[in-house]
Every structure is written in C-alpha cells, then in structure tokens.
Amino acid sequence: MKTLDFFVGHYAYWFVVALLVLGLYGMMVKRNLVKKLIGMTIFQVAVIIFYIASAVKREATIPIADKAIGTADASLYINPLQHTLMLTAIVVGVATAGVAYALLIIIFRRYNTLHEPELMEAMKREEEEDGDE
C-alpha cells in the first residue's frame, strides 16, 4: 500500500518531475535553438505547476470570495499565495520568451541557420576570417 501511495498519492509531483526532465532533455540534447527554447518553457511551466499543486487543500474551493461560503474559515479556500506568485512567474516567463525569440530572429538573420552545429561552423569560419585581417 505504501508504494501505491508513493506513486498514485503524489501523482501531481510525478507529473512535475516528468515535465522537468522533458524540459531539461530539450535544453540539453536538442540541437535546434528553437527546440532548446521550447524545452526551457516546459521547464518553467513545470515549476509553476509545482507551486500550484502545493496550494491545494482538501475539500476547498478556488480562492475567490464566495458569499455562500463566507470569509470566516480560511480552510475552505485553497491557498491563494502560490497562485499570485505564479502569476508573476508566468509574466517573467513570457518576458524571457520574448527576449529569447528576438535574439533568435537576429541570429537567423545574421547566420541563416538555427541549427546549432551549423551555427558553430558559421561562427568559426567568421572568427577565422576576422583573425586573418
């Protein structure tokens, strides 16, 4: 029973682990820069889901004040703090993605490729040309 609880009882955290590993795999193994970026996005989303999963309480509802339930008992609402923190984290992720895509566009315009080995080749050739001056 304990092993079952370890896997099924914590399924949210296993999901987070799977996303983390996927994201890291994408960032490290994939050779296309856009795929690295997608891996990074998945990695960030995993952390967001981790926080949200940690906010849940048993028999509790979303943290919007409900006239029927009232505001006296806090255990009837899930913890809103993690949700507000993750709003900020989502915005940070969007801004980072924006900067990253802008960089990718510049790289593509200058080197005409987003495939990392080709990019390294092109940069090495350019460096040799600079060195010959």
Binding site: I64, L87, I90, V91, G98, Y101, A102, I105, I106, R109
Partner: protein, 144 residues
C-alpha cells in the same frame, strides 16, 4: 516571409470578433479582484485583439488602427501609471503603493480597491503595448 495574401472571409470574421474580444478583455481587467482575471490577463487579451487584425488584414492596414510606434511608448505609459500610483501614495504620506494614502476622498478599504484598479489598468495598458511591440518587432525590421 511569404507574401501577404488577403482573404475576405478571414478579414470579415476578424473585424467582427476583435471588438468583442477587446470588450471581454476590459471586463477581465476590471473584474480582477472579484473573479479570475486582472491586469496581465486582460492586457494579453487586448493584445490578442490587436494582433488578430494584424494577422488578418496585414501590417499596412493594421498599422492604421494601432500604429507601430505606439507600442513601446504605450508600454512605458502603462508602467508609469503603476509607478505614478505608487508615487501618489508616497506623496499622500504613506509608503510606496500603500493605497490607503492616495490623495483622494474615501475610506481606506475603498481607496485600496481603487488603488488596485488603477494599478491593474496600468498593467493592462503596459502588456497591450509591449506584446504588440514584440509582435511588430519580430515581424519586420532587423532588431529595432
């Protein structure tokens, strides 16, 4: 980039939908403290409404509606509204962003509610401006 190819059905549907998206986005911004929503969410939808027209009708036409140069200054203005609210509270005698000290008439809870609303409007404008600016920059020009 491929040549832009205009299509009447797409343009018609986008033109019809876009104002409703904006209206719903305004609803989301203003109801941030009563329901899921708020500045960032509403701002993203506002930007979606603007970008929809850019996608459907092409850049030249869409820039008549929302000019290219408007993006970044609108973003800066939105952040400035946020910062200005904080400054106003400091001038009113409290700490930065302590809305109860806004130099307006009202009880402390009402002022707090108003302060958050002002801040959310600022954030919504900022997000609208910046997301549209990102879209425009990605689409044309070399890293302006």
């Amino acid at each position: 980039m491929r040549e832009f190819d205009s299509d009447d059905i797409v343009i018609l549907v986008s033109r019809t939908l876009s104002p409703f998206i904006m209206l719903f986005a305004l609803y989301v911004v203003f109801h941030g403290h009563y329901s899921p929503g708020g500045g960032f969410q509403g701002g993203t939808m506002l930007a979606a409404a603007v970008i929809l027209i850019r996608l459907a009708a092409g850049s030249e036409l869409a820039h008549l509606q929302f000019p290219r140069e408007l993006g970044t200054p609108l973003g800066a203005a939105g952040v400035f509204i946020y910062f200005g609210t904080g400054l106003a509270t400091m001038l009113g005698g409290g700490r930065f962003l302590d809305y109860a000290f806004l130099p307006l008439a009202g009880t402390a809870p009402a002022l707090r509610s108003l302060g958050i609303l002002l801040v959310e409007v600022g954030v919504g404008l900022a997000v609208l401006g910046i997301l549209t600016a990102i879209f425009d920059d990605l689409l044309e020009g070399s890293g302006e």
